[in-house]
């Protein structure tokens, strides 16, 4: 692989993924989260970790969920996979999953499936089938996700056989094929390696191979590049994009890194303190952000092209604890466009009224959460 030199012609841009057209065509989403509410009932009060989150994920699309600590992106992910433990509980909303029809040879084995995951018993047979078989997780810390006592090959084989009974030998072949597909060098040897024998980048590839083991239609990537170096991160992002193009899978990409979102996502959901502040196509979010939080976040990031050693525009204050949720709009104490009497009294609904993509801000509409309009 050569680095482009100054005089080389610019390479062609990456092809636009077909999924954008799927969403625009008005097709069926694979995953449809509506008004999801996951609350933690503690002695001190109720922590509304996820408080009315809605978004859709279409086939072949990458949706990026971006937000800072305490925004609820991790709990959203856990709620989708029904991994939330007490005292946390899904108290409202629905998570509608519709298994998409695969293309090509897998079509023969396709069994249609559609359910509201929020209503399924979390340890029941159907949810366990969905978990790993339909919706797979690429976790943040690959070291913590592999058992140190078994080789990675054994663990991938176990994942395969849990979802599709087959003889061990065949599962081993499938596993090695997956390792090869994620770009693991010498996959036959690496099959028998332990996770702690691999470097960070290879471990990340191994965990992606395990996630792909059962050909899921949805991949949830939970901060997959936070713990690795930037050059390895670029490799992993490249890999994810290629896999997505090859398999047509949808990816829910959770991160706090706006740069990564810009590179991989088709559609972006911006979260703050358990609510969606804004969502839309990635170019809209980056070039025409509407919510003051999104705008402030984008402006406060130093980039390679910003002017050096000049004070960055910042968002004052810090993220409040969910127990001390501000009245009205959660962002109003820090908002430069705060309107007293409105933003601190009513909660703006996530509404597309007044524009193209939904935004939760009274600057752009006056719909209030729970229905109705702000006078």
């Amino acid at each position: 692989m050569t680095l482009p030199t100054r005089t080389a012609a610019s390479p062609a841009p990456a092809p636009r993924s077909p999924a954008v057209s799927e969403r625009e065509r008005g097709g069926e989403p694979v995953l449809s989260v509506r008004d999801l509410k996951t609350h933690f009932r503690l002695d001190e009060g109720v922590v509304r970790a996820v408080d009315g989150v809605s978004f859709d994920l279409y086939p072949g699309e990458v949706v990026g969920i971006v937000g800072e600590s305490g925004c609820g992106k991790s709990i959203t992910m856990k709620s989708i996979l029904r991994l939330v433990q007490p005292p946390g509980r899904i108290v409202g909303g629905e998570i509608r999953y519709r298994r998409p029809e695969p293309v090509g040879e897998a079509r023969r084995r396709y069994k249609p499936f559609e359910a509201d995951l929020a209503r399924l018993p979390p340890q029941g047979r159907r949810m366990r089938q969905v978990r790993g078989g339909d919706i797979a997780l690429i976790p943040q810390e690959p070291m913590a996700s592999f058992s140190p006592l078994h080789t990675i090959g054994e663990q991938i084989v176990e994942a395969i056989r849990l979802h599709e009974p087959m003889p061990k030998a065949r599962a081993r072949e499938v596993a090695i094929a997956k390792l090869r597909e994620v770009g693991m060098p010498s996959p036959e040897q690496r099959f028998s390696a332990y996770s702690w024998q691999l470097s960070g980048g290879l471990r990340q590839r191994a965990i992606i191979a395990m996630a792909l083991a059962c050909n899921p239609s949805v991949l949830i990537a939970d901060e997959p590049t936070t713990a690795i170096d930037v050059t390895t991160q670029a490799q992993v992002l490249e890999l994810l994009k290629r896999l997505q193009a090859d398999h047509g899978s949808s990816i829910l990409f959770i991160t706090h890194d706006l740069g990564v979102i810009a590179q991989v996502a088709d559609h972006v959901v911006v979260m703050y303190l358990g609510k969606v502040m804004e969502q839309g196509p990635v170019s809209d979010i980056f070039h025409r952000p509407r919510h003051p939080y999104t705008r402030a976040l984008l402006k406060s990031m130093p980039s390679l092209h910003s002017e050096p050693r000049v004070a960055l525009p910042t968002v004052a204050g810090s993220i409040p604890h969910p127990l001390h949720r501000p009245r009205g709009c959660a962002f109003h104490p820090r908002c430069p466009d705060f309107m007293p009497g409105r933003c601190d009294v009513r909660v703006p609904a996530l509404s597309a009224a007044g524009g193209r993509s939904p935004v939760a801000c009274f600057l752009h509409h006056d719909e209030v959460e729970g229905g109705g309009h702000d006078a």
Partner: protein
């Protein structure tokens, strides 16, 4: 960018702590939390464990008894009366002839069985001794200083050798209740003193081992391993058996304490060493070093306070072990011996099956051992959970 648009009056966000950093209980406690030192936070966390708090009260009661056993006793615990042997407990009642009355105790009448020549005791429902609080009884010195004759419990109409025995009597006619009260002092204090000694040993040796590392650590760790590998029971037997029989009670008491402490410091030393090793790597310790703090300042001002609550928890968990050890030794006759009174010594009377069958109330000291040990264990667990900020 306009100057006004990025700045916000800070008052609104000023008092709100960060979401990611703190636990809900800290956040919910409100502004008082900001100036609360760590021990207060630990206490607040501890208070939420209702069971542990209850055990704290139980322990407080036991400790109170240990401080002033004479106040809680009703008779001289060493007063023997052969004719009063094996009297069953004269329990406090509130029902007399179907009516609720002021708490009282029935008297007992003894008859010698002509065949077995043993005394048989029966309740005498004719005689009633009402319970009196803060009554006069036999004289003593409170805390060894203040002469008084007030006791918590007393009985109207009965004095001296007729004083009711709330928990019965033993083979020598001694009042079990009073002996139990006196025994609490010895049993508890041996546990506390032994733990105090082993704590000092443990902290010093564990701290030296953990802070300095290297060959010092090596030597001390091997010593700990050696001591832990020794089977404790034979060692105790040997050490106790080597104590001269002619020693007075107090000397035996201290010797037992020292023996227990010498063998018990290893657990604490290991914990302290572990804490030191992990604390050495903490950023705030490095910060103190980089500021130029002297080594002793780093150890005593930064590292030691960090694990004080853990030490308290570990100590609280070590006390019941010591109590059990002393009880065990004395029960076997290898620890304290009469005329000393401890729970273990009392349990010696219950060593044979005959006593247990004929006078099961002799096992009550065992009950108190269980209650105290349980209470201390639960209390220690609660303290440890409260002190560990990562357990939630």
């Amino acid at each position: 960018m306009q100057p006004g648009s990025e700045l916000v009056p800070v008052e609104k966000t000023d008092r709100v702590p960060d979401g990611a950093g703190e636990s809900a209980e800290v956040v919910a406690a409100g502004p008082a939390v900001y100036v609360a030192p760590a021990w207060k936070l630990t206490w607040w966390r501890f208070r939420k464990h209702k069971l542990a708090v209850a055990c704290l009260w139980v322990f407080a009661v036991v400790a109170l008894i240990a401080l002033a056993p004479e106040f809680f006793a009703t008779q001289d615990p060493n007063a023997t009366a052969a004719s009063n042997a094996y009297i069953p407990p004269q329990t406090v009642r509130v029902l007399h002839e179907g009516r609720v009355t002021w708490p009282f105790v029935y008297g007992v009448r003894g008859e010698r069985n002509q065949r077995t020549l043993r005394m048989e005791w029966a309740l005498d429902e004719e005689t009633r001794y009402p319970l009196r609080l803060f009554a006069r009884g036999y004289p003593y010195r409170l805390f060894g200083l203040i002469p008084t004759d007030r006791h918590l419990l007393g009985f109207e109409g009965a004095t001296g050798r007729d004083t009711p025995r709330l928990l019965g009597t033993d083979r020598l006619g001694r009042d079990q209740w009073s002996r139990l009260m006196y025994g609490t002092r010895i049993s508890l204090s041996i546990g506390l003193v032994a733990v105090a000694l082993s704590t000092v040993l443990g902290i010093v040796l564990g701290g030296v081992s953990g802070y300095f590392g290297g060959w010092v650590d090596n030597v001390i760790q091997r010593l700990i391993e050696l001591l832990q590998a020794l089977p404790p029971i034979p060692i105790w037997l040997a050490l106790s058996a080597s104590l001269p029989r002619t020693w007075p009670v107090t000397w035996v008491y201290f010797a037992i304490t020292v023996i227990l402490a010498l063998l018990g410091w290893t657990r604490l030393a290991r914990e302290v060493r572990g804490r030191f090793l992990s604390l050495r790597e903490e950023d705030f310790v490095t910060a103190a070093r980089l500021v130029g703090a002297s080594r002793s300042r780093v150890i005593f001002s930064h590292m030691v306070p960090s694990f004080t609550s853990h030490i308290i928890a570990a100590v609280t968990l070590a006390i019941p072990l010591m109590i059990l050890n002393e009880t065990f030794l004395s029960f076997l006759g290898l620890g304290l011996r009469p005329p000393a009174i401890s729970w273990g010594v009392m349990l010696q009377e219950a060593q044979n099956l005959q006593s247990v069958v004929n006078a099961p109330w002799l096992l009550i000291p065992g009950l108190l051992v269980i209650v105290t040990v349980l209470a201390l264990n639960i209390l220690g667990d609660g303290l440890r959970d409260a002190a560990d900020p990562y357990s939630s």
